[in-house]
Structures are given as C-alpha cells and as structure tokens.
Amino acid sequence: MPVSTKQHNVVMTAKPQAAYLTATAKNTSAPFAWRRIVQSQFSATDYKVNVQKNLGAATGTFYASESRTISHEMSKSMPVELNSFDVVRLLYAACGQIATTTPEGGVFQHTIKLLDLNVAQALPAYGLAEKAGSGLDQEWVGCHLERFLLAGDGIAIVTGEATWSGSGKRLAPSGLIFEPTASFNIPAPVGLKYWKNSQLSLTVADATTFANSINYCAAKRVNKWSIEIQNALSDGFRPCAGDYQTPGNSESGAIRSERFIVGQTITPQVEVRVESGSVEYQYLQEQRPLDFTLSLRGAPIGSFFHQLLFKMPLATYSAIQTGEAEDFLVFTITAEPLVNLATGDVYNFIVTNDQAGTVYV
C-alpha cells in the first residue's frame, strides 16, 4: 500500500537537547519531551551522504569502482502556520536566548533576542523526527535552525518557514507513538492560538524620542510583511573528534561534532502603499534612526492577548523599491537593525501566551 502525504507527521523536541549529540528520550506522560508540529504543506527531510569515489584513478570506464562514506548531513524545511505556542520554540531556536516573566497569573511573556556572544556561541539544538505510516520512520539528532521566515499577507493566517540543519546523526526507527494510540509519546497538538494578518499593527517612529510616528495600519497602507532570520553556522565536522554515524565505527562516516553561530542577518520587509507626503525615501536618504515595531495581537488571555511583538529600537531603512499592487504604487521597504551598545540589544521578539517558560527551556 502506498504511503500518503497526509500520513506524514513531523515532531521536534519540546526543549533543546541536553547536548548537541545527545538524543532526547521519548516519555509517555506529561510533560512530554517531544511535540508534534502540524506542517502547512508536505515537506520531508533531505538526507545526504557525502562520499568520495575513486574517479581520479583509471577504471577504464566513466564510473568509479569504490565509494567511501565521508560524512552525513540533513536539512529540513518546516512550513507552518504560526501559533503563539510553537513560535516561541522556533524563535528561541533561531535567536538563542530567552527570558520569561509572568505579568499576570496564567499569562507568560517570553522575550527572545539574539544570543549574547560573550556568554554563548551556539544556538540551542533540537531533535527532529518524521514518520509516514511504516514507510518512513526516522529521527535526527542535533538540529539547528538555519533560517526562519515569518510572513503575513493580506488578512490570511500568518505563516512561518523554519529550515533546519542537522548533525547528520540518524536514528531509525524513530519510536514515535502518536495519541490516541496506547502509551503514546507524542500528544495531539490542541488548543493552539493562531495569528491572522488582520491582527497586525505596524508603526515606525524616530528612535529614542518616538516623534514622527507613522502608523501604517491606521492609514490602511500595509499589503504584506516578512521577517527573515538567516543564521550562518560553522561547518562542525571536526577531524579526530571520533563522532561517527555508527558509534565506534570510523568507516560509517563522520557526523558533526559541534555547531556554532558565526553570523546572522535579520531582514524585516514591508510592502506599503505610497501615500501623499510619503517620507520613506527621505528616511532612506538620511539613514534616519528609527524605532520599528510590528505586532500581532490575537485571542485574549486575562487582561493580555496572545501576541507577537517584534521590535527594533534602533533601525534604518536599507532599501526601498517602488512597485505596484492592485494599480496602486507601493514601496517595498527593507529595514535593518543597529545594535544598541549600551544594552547589547539588536531586536526583540516578545511573545505573550499561556505557556510557562519551563515548557521551552
């Protein structure tokens, strides 16, 4: 019997792994160590075995006679609809540091920032796994978030796409047992709160003073937006580290031994209608220091809301492109953060939800 894409389930560890190459065990009672992610479209893992063949030697044909396993790699694209529960996990994976406070009973605020390189050099590593019937069943150890794209368009549900890059360590079978099967170790993802792009607010003002505030939503100017985080990760394959696909078997091919973050770019981009008196090109020309704030405010919790707040307290416009949408002129504005050396801050994501910080770390 063929396997349907609808049978394809993807899960990730609820918290970072204890260590890069330490797989997270699966438990059968709450709090569960693994979490099911409902992808918005089918996307499976890309597994690659790097080999070296003896093509340089004369074999008398166009083909090698030997293939030697050198290393293993995996990558995985995870397209999702953004909910206030899992976005914390994905943002923490992408940015590397989190602090959670409790402004009100049952309300939690998670502040996620780019990690402080004076304190840590590695993003949190997660375990991923996938299962489709009995035909595809595997787990991946030591996965880092290489790219995370958040995007809102029109009034639709806000989307995200996480791209993972793993150590190459593969375990099969995965051992996943989904609810409602007896003794399940993967609970059903229920009670999630999603954001719609109609819940957007977008403001730009002078940095520090908040003068000259432009509320793009009040003027009905916003068409769409996106925030892309792109992490550069170190290669991580280390000679003589002794890390192989099959432990102790040096012929089974190397897996990564470590993975550090060595660079990051964050690219917020908004498409807004051009309006009489638009100042965007002036701001670009002046390289005016701006406070850039984007917010999605969803379902209420107490006196708060399930909210995603993205803030660059010190930013400039780095590019503006003029185009058209629905016969109206539009600007596609790209903003770029600057670091505030006094605080070390570059940007903040503040997510408000009903999940305690211990759910994530």
């Binding site: 540091q97 989190i98 917010s295 305690a356 211990t358």
Partner: protein, 101 residues
C-alpha cells in the same frame, strides 16, 4: 568571583536560557551564579521587562523584575538600564532600578 542573585518579582516563576545556561528562579528565591559573565548577562536581560499592554498607548513597565546582587565588584548594568529607559520613553516612576550592593 561569583555573586548571589535574589529575585524580587511580583509575578510567578522567572525562566531564562542562553546556550547551555538555564535559569529557573522561583518567586522570592535566590540563586548563586558563580560566573560573573553569566550573572551580568542575567542582570542585563531581566532587569526590567517591557510590555506593551495596549497598542497606541506606548510602552509601560507593568511588569518589573528586580534582582539584588551581592558580591559583584562593579555594577556594569547600570548604564544599560538608563539607556533602555531612555529608549522606551515611558518610564514608570515606581520602577526605579534598585541600588545594588
């Protein structure tokens, strides 16, 4: 030299993590942080929590977390607190940075 951090926080538990470092502090609890770099990071990240309760109403310090630190040879986060307050532009006068010994 390490230092002791005492959480004085009106809410429930406080949780923070960076790299392999994870902190969970119960209300009115104290933790010992032996690495000064980590302690300074913790202070800097959590000195005050900014929240926007209502769009258009500006920023409010409706949620405050204050650590009392002892054993710290210098107070490196004080300028950072001032700078952050300046950026936010809406400082609750009751949320003054507590003086550390």
């Amino acid at each position: 030299m390490g230092m002791k951090l005492k959480a004085d926080y009106p809410g429930e538990d406080f949780v923070a993590a960076i790299g392999e470092h994870r902190f969970e502090i119960k209300k009115n609890d104290a933790i010992e942080v032996t690495d000064q770099t980590i302690a300074e990071w913790l202070l800097k990240q959590t000195w005050r929590k900014r929240v926007a309760k209502a769009e258009g109403a500006g920023w409010n310090y409706s949620d405050e977390l204050v650590f009392e630190a002892s054993g710290l040879e210098s107070a490196p986060v004080e300028p950072a607190v001032e700078a952050e307050a300046a950026i936010v532009n809406d400082v609750d006068s009751t949320a003054k940075a507590r003086k550390r010994g």
